[in-house]
Symmetry: D2
Subunit: 359 residues, 4 copies
């Protein structure tokens, strides 16, 4: 099975390269009768869009999404939804010089080895530009989950380099270009990024996603656990090298008496598990984090080889973010929404409608 | 799609509960003509088997696997392989007292909420006993990968509580009950576990898996990347709360100039990526780590509620490991093997036989 | 994806060869809380079982099915159900002489070409013995459909050679060894089969399946239409060479004014469509028919070649039915049940519970 | 799993309604490096296109397909291929009057029952207009199969009403508006259709597909047999009510001694099986036939009800073919190509490259 599809019942299949004609996707399995407009999708696309601040790539794409099918008289029909974003600002001339070499840290080498050649324009299919369609598809899931079950899915920048951001205030997240929930760290983030721009370098990031009001019972034993499917979806985002659910790697040093979330009549007394027990949602708030590597598209010279095996030094020209993690926030939210939506439908198929039981 | 299957082309579907009649699985998609005997599977089953040391549960199961189909005259036929392990030491009477309550940190609550009732005997389907079949199926993948491509997949205990084990010596791993590659830490591990046993508590662990000689080109853009599928497979192991590929969460504080693995004629100069670039194997050594939570099956009393909502205190009786992470080593190897095998077949379908190109 | 699985949400995966240790299957996706015992499955297995009349193979298998998992305290748990039938009457010595040659009309040649070798004992995996597990799995679907939606699925012999059986009386079907609903043709059928036995020849058959009380709305546009999935399931039965829905091939000579089923307040005025419109169930009675070829296992000598390409004549020894179509009745019912069950769950996932609005 | 995808490894996912903005599809799993242009797809689209003769609907659509991704410098890249056809001649005003009633023989009733409402413009998603994308996707499969294995897939009209067309001359098929291979029947076909036009009625048809040079070994036991997957693909075409492989329903009256295809050194001596044995291609010519019902879009008045249950009489205005079977020829070819392509990749995954062995 080729890899451009995610989800079993809520299925998203995407196509498109960084500098091709258009990006698109098909969203299948959407329940009928849900109000849906292009504006519903555009909001998150705008949050992800490049060129919105001086910290992100200056590629300017309006990223205007069109709904081509599956919606009639303002409501979903239950049939497949086709979405399209045309590429308008392609500047593929920028990329001619990397045609014959493998940028270190990029997929150039592996695509070439796998397929025998590659679309070298801006990374082709391996470019994070592809994630625009994930955001568009995820927005459908987000809307459905919100509308029918009041599920709220939000992400934020938890760390960039050594600067940690605490989840102090959700309203802050949309008010600064870093998606930081911690206004006390805005200056430190700004200083870090300005320094990196000067040096032509980049930095990694940690992004967290929080889903509230997740119905209890989502997730399928034993392989398609909710956490396993989340790990798959989040790890599939470009540049991600690690995924945590709940306390994540902190559990290595925890004791059982400390980690287990005790239960009282009024609900769970803590949430080390991050809202998932035995691979099934517990009704508690779902929490997940991802680690994003620093982009290799930097102007610090790097050693590599050409397709012919000749050793060269290179720098990456063009428009790039010093911290790709920033724009990953809406993508991580979208992937979380897609997984939850899929499992909501899977649960319904076998067990009927979800119940909002005690927490 | 119900969740008891993993893999697209190399497909493993399992069944069985902790205290049911038997565990079993069907392995589909195995290439024909591969020599295979029950002994090939038994080796890893014995490594995972409980009751082999004083640190693991004293439940004694011979875990003798039978091949019921798909092998003829010592070779795989290309048709589905049925595997069976009968449960012999079930002692379900031990579990009567937890019938009506939700053990904190376990799947009791979520299974009950999802399905309306549950097999309460030893966790039923949510028990890690299910992983025996993963190990058996993984052994087929391991053998195929080793035989045809010389791929070697090995795991080890990287950390338990605060005790870190360095990968000093692979030969050590099979010589101590902790799967530790670091003989200098055996005493510390022993002391830690003995202390926990006395206190009736448990501890988390970090397990790492290393796959050598992985062919270049495995992994499918954009969702079914090799790392995404590994994350899915590893996160689906009981108790896992985090997955890392290569440098994992360390990348958050790294710079691009530091993280990117430069390339020279003789190959990559470092391996921060853990052998995967753009979701596709690079031919470098694949490295992944998982975080395993401390088991909640402890004798330190814990607060919980009954199915009827009454508040109670409970302790877990029965036979349990103070560190479930130890026995996760062969399971993590098996899941890695299953994913690599699946992607080898997927690659072959679309791109033909893999090539062992430069590293 | 290997081919031993059918269904998306109600998933059946089988294993086992004609003369292997055992046959088995895993049924995944069964809703929880459904009463289920081995006796529920045994009834249809007994209907399919060989050796029950002088017209069917004298191989005597009790075909006793065991439920190994997924049922607790008499009810399905929602987790995967493992089923097993041990092979007891294998007599593999009968098959030694066909080891080196390709029986004409059998899968010997194609299996050998595909896999490089084959399990030659009784056809190995290509034997219709495999269908026992379909019948067992289908019995679960049948029970669920009957219990929850009062769906009744029944099959009958519609034709054997030139002898046509009309659907005169359902109660007849279980009272004669031919599954004939037409008592007026029992003598003709008997005479036909006795003649064939004498000649050592075999004959084709047409089997029809009727499903009543099918909820309206089952089936997914555009590829996974209910009729398309039925065609897949029915054509996958050994020896089937044709599938019809409703009027089937008779539509070639029909006019639109004649074929379309007109609608009045009280419902459809006819049922040329066989209960499916646009790939979706209409709530009318579902009707399908299959054509089964005459078995090639006959004692009339036939020309073939050996694996080495040498030309030989052969006859098929052993125990074989002169009309394999007879025993296909419970198999066709089972496949129909599996498809309907799968689509019931798929419908529920996306559109919620079905409505009985049949008109 | 929603139903808009076909294939496991060669995967086609479609979207689009009869009168929506556009039709599109994503073709995933195409091997890299295959030369592909829009012209490759346009040829079959033109063969299927309406408005090409006085016998087919006068809706005039250029059906110009655009390749949006997955092709770079004239060759497939191995990543997903996005295809788009814009709807230009929609005339949705024609359909206002059927908004509130259920056309008999159409999917209006079932879509409404399934989804709660429907896109009533020209049948919405249930319209055969959707098949344009199948033809486009199938053309990719056709090209690949032809290029790499010299497989030739061709269809023809075998019967319309009572007029039977023999396969006398392949070159005739593209030279008459009926896809008839039998020039002796052209007048009879013309007379039949002219009579139907006058009466405002329609007629059914039988279409056959022939695939030559199919490699031996394609097809997966036991459910995903080549014939079963063909039956699924062909039955999923609008208006199809029956599928036959090889001799099809004629086998009911055949004897085993007559049906089995004997083998000699030079190959099979006959082809009753239609090129498939045990669900696996034998290397013989593959033959399949389908029955297409007469369209219900006729001007003979018919009885039906409105959505509110009121009884009415209706006739279908608009542009419709008296025999929809005619245009099914390229669609049936496309579906056959998709299935063969999928199984070629599946075979390669497990068993390596196909061999053209003896026949």
């Amino acid at each position: 099975m080729a890899g451009n599809t995610i989800g079993q019942l809520f299925r998203v299949t995407t196509f498109g390269e960084s500098h091709g004609v258009a990006l698109g996707c098909i969203v299948d399995g959407v329940p009928p009768g849900i109000p849906l407009t292009e504006a519903d999708l555009q909001h998150d696309l705008d949050r992800r869009r490049p060129g919105t601040s001086r910290y992100t790539t200056q590629r300017r794409e309006p990223d205007q999404v069109k709904i081509l099918s599956g919606v009639f008289e303002g409501k979903t029909t239950g049939t497949s939804i086709g979405l399209l974003i045309e590429n308008t600002d392609q500047r593929s001339q920028d990329y001619g010089e990397i045609k014959e070499l493998y940028r270190p840290g990029h997929a150039d080498f592996t695509y070439d080895q796998k397929y025998g050649f590659r679309d070298y324009r801006g990374g082709g299919r391996s470019s994070a530009r592809e994630t625009a369609m994930r955001v568009a598809a995820g927005a459908i899931a987000k809307k459905y989950l919100q509308l029918t079950h009041n599920v709220v899915i939000r992400g934020y920048l938890a760390q960039m380099g050594d600067v940690c951001c605490e989840l102090k205030d959700w309203s802050q997240v949309e008010q600064n270009p870093f998606f930081s929930p911690d206004s006390d760290q805005l200056e430190a983030l700004d200083a870090l990024l300005r320094g990196l721009k000067k040096e032509g370098d980049s930095i990694g990031a940690k992004v967290s996603v929080v889903a509230e009001n997740v119905p209890v019972g989502l997730g399928e034993p034993v392989f398609d656990r909710l956490d396993a499917d989340l790990a798959h979806a989040l790890m599939s985002i470009n540049a991600v090298k690690g995924v945590e659910i709940g306390d994540g790697f902190d559990v290595v040093a925890q004791r059982g008496s400390q980690h287990r979330d005790e239960i009282r009549k009024e609900g769970f007394q803590s949430n080390h598990a991050g809202g998932i027990l035995g691979g099934i949602s517990s009704g508690q708030t779902l929490t997940a984090s991802i680690a994003l590597k620093p982009t290799s598209s930097i102007t610090v010279p790097g050693k590599t080889i050409t397709r012919q095996g000749e050793e060269v030094e290179m720098i990456t020209r063009g428009r790039h973010d010093p911290c790709v993690g920033i724009r990953a926030v809406p993508i991580a939210e979208a992937m979380t929404a897609i997984v939850l939506m899929d499992h909501l439908l899977r649960h319904r198929a076998q067990c009927g409608d979800v119940t909002h039981s005690q927490k």
